[in-house]
Symmetry: C2
């Protein structure tokens, strides 16, 4: 059933021993939302943990500063910022598929896999929804929760730059700032600082960007070798996915990354009206209207050729 953030608060108020699930390859919104909610529920005296399928980049460690894992028998499972059970990642999916009571999400593509779903597609981040849930829970938002919510909002909007940013996004960001969110350090960690290795990776990527379809499609490639030589990891360099779309005239920017098992994944970024989610759907992937992703098991050459074909169609 699709429920409101107020109803979510009413349900959560009745529950205890809660596990909050984050999506695989966890980002600032799934983590910020999960930990903000965890902090609020614990403040109410409940036992709550959050789980992640994949390792978390150390830059997010400030989110759970001072928190310890709790010991309890799990009674209620919540998923935040997760559009499909696939996105739980293999381990969490094996454990939790079909057992998730509540989903809090802002992806219009959410498959309504949970018992109840609070789906607000016009929220820039799941953290926006979590802000209202915490308000309805009646919990006072402290500086640490504010930092969690601000992290979700700022990372999912590219620091208020993406088209999903609304007046409400700014409003909540302002309130979080007022409540003590450490925006200065969060912005520095999330949007400012790059290692020399990352800059070197960026330089190599710029050297090798390829253009197709009258320069309306740009494809950048990152190989495992490039990570190795520059001393970087995929998680660190996530922001790089937005680079190809930044080029003047480019409508679709794709960053193809080699996975450790030799297969490929792509981050697709589009300018309106081109639908990134529709492009990725043709590869079995998905996401938002202007930012989506997919994987591919064949050769790189095939992957690129199919992208050129699919994007050509989308551009028409």
């Amino acid at each position: 059933m699709n429920i409101t953030s107020k109803q979510v608060a009413e349900i959560l108020a009745q529950q205890d021993n809660i596990t909050i699930l984050t999506h695989f390859h966890p980002d600032g919104d799934t983590l910020g939302s999960a930990v903000a909610l965890l902090r609020a529920l614990r403040k109410m005296g409940k036992k709550v943990n959050f789980l992640n399928n994949d390792p978390i980049h150390p830059k997010y460690a400030y989110l759970w500063e001072g928190l310890q894992k709790q010991d309890f028998e799990e009674q209620f499972v919540v998923a935040v910022d997760i559009a499909t059970e696939e996105l739980l990642g293999d381990d969490l999916k094996a454990r939790y598929a079909g057992k998730i009571a509540l989903a809090i999400d802002h992806h219009p593509s959410n498959t309504l896999f949970a018992g109840d779903t609070c789906l607000e597609g016009d929220s820039a981040a799941a953290a926006e929804i979590v802000y209202y849930i915490i308000k309805y829970l009646g919990v006072e938002i402290d500086a640490q929760m504010a930092s969690c919510i601000y992290t979700g909002i700022s990372t999912d909007t590219g620091c208020f730059k993406f088209r999903n940013t609304t007046a409400r996004t700014f409003y909540i960001a302002g309130v979080m700032k007022d409540l003590g969110a450490d925006t200065e350090n969060i912005n520095e960690v999330m949007f400012e600082i790059k290692t020399r290795g990352e800059l070197e990776l960026e330089r190599r990527l710029l050297e090798k960007m390829h253009y197709y379809l009258d320069n309306r499609l740009a494809i950048a490639l990152i190989t495992q070798e490039m990570y190795r030589v520059t001393g970087t990891t995929e998680d660190e360099c996530d922001y790089i996915a937005s680079l190809p779309r930044q080029v003047a005239g480019v409508m679709v920017g794709i960053t193809i990354r080699e996975r450790t098992n030799g297969t490929w994944k792509a981050s697709v970024r589009t300018k309106p009206p081109i639908d990134a989610s529709a492009i990725c759907k043709q590869f079995g992937g998905g996401g938002h209207a202007n930012a989506a992703g997919c994987r591919f098991d064949g050769s790189l050459k095939e992957f690129v050729a199919k992208f050129v074909e699919v994007v050509e169609e989308a551009l028409q």
Copy 2:
């Protein structure tokens, strides 16, 4: 005299035939503030023009869409976002030094050169102050004014990323979004789109970044030759000044640019507690605590050597 934004509104309400001055090498805040104020005052039936010393980058053209220069005998001169008369630029300084009735500014370094000065150093942008002035003038903010104010705020905060961003900054941005500011296109033009030439300039700059003082100082160099080869101009590539400071561990990032007359100018960006303005003061320049600028007539080698010396002292 230092006056409030409310007093500014009271003064402006009494005046007519107003010229608004912007600072040399005009940016989004001086232009956005000037044109927002111009639009508001014209809506009150007053005659108002704005003047710029240097050519304006075409990306700002949307600010004065639909506006024409007006014909009148100037009676009152206002400076916006201008800290010293030097920053008027040579031509405007020759015409207006000593004749500016009112300054609206957010630079703590403002020299109080005007008859009256509304100086609010805790405003992220002059456009924040202009927002309140227009409110006090009683003028309804339309979508075009909102876009002007949003431009000033977003460009002076690096799209809400810089440390000058306050809860009020977010609040005003949200109101501007609600009032119809075209944030999507403004963000795209100001923060997203780069030409292939700009990316190539960035790549070349990354290739040649130099590190000093245990990697705490990074200096990047842009020569006129680099602009020529990449087909870029200085105005287009203004954002590049923030690149050296982005490197992990760097406390002071300096971008030195060759001017067309063979002399040099530098943009200095620091992380707290290092004071960029104090560093630039030693070269006769100035600015904000974490972003300042200066010029140098000697050799590049001397300029770099003096920077290393001055920054070494600042780091102690």
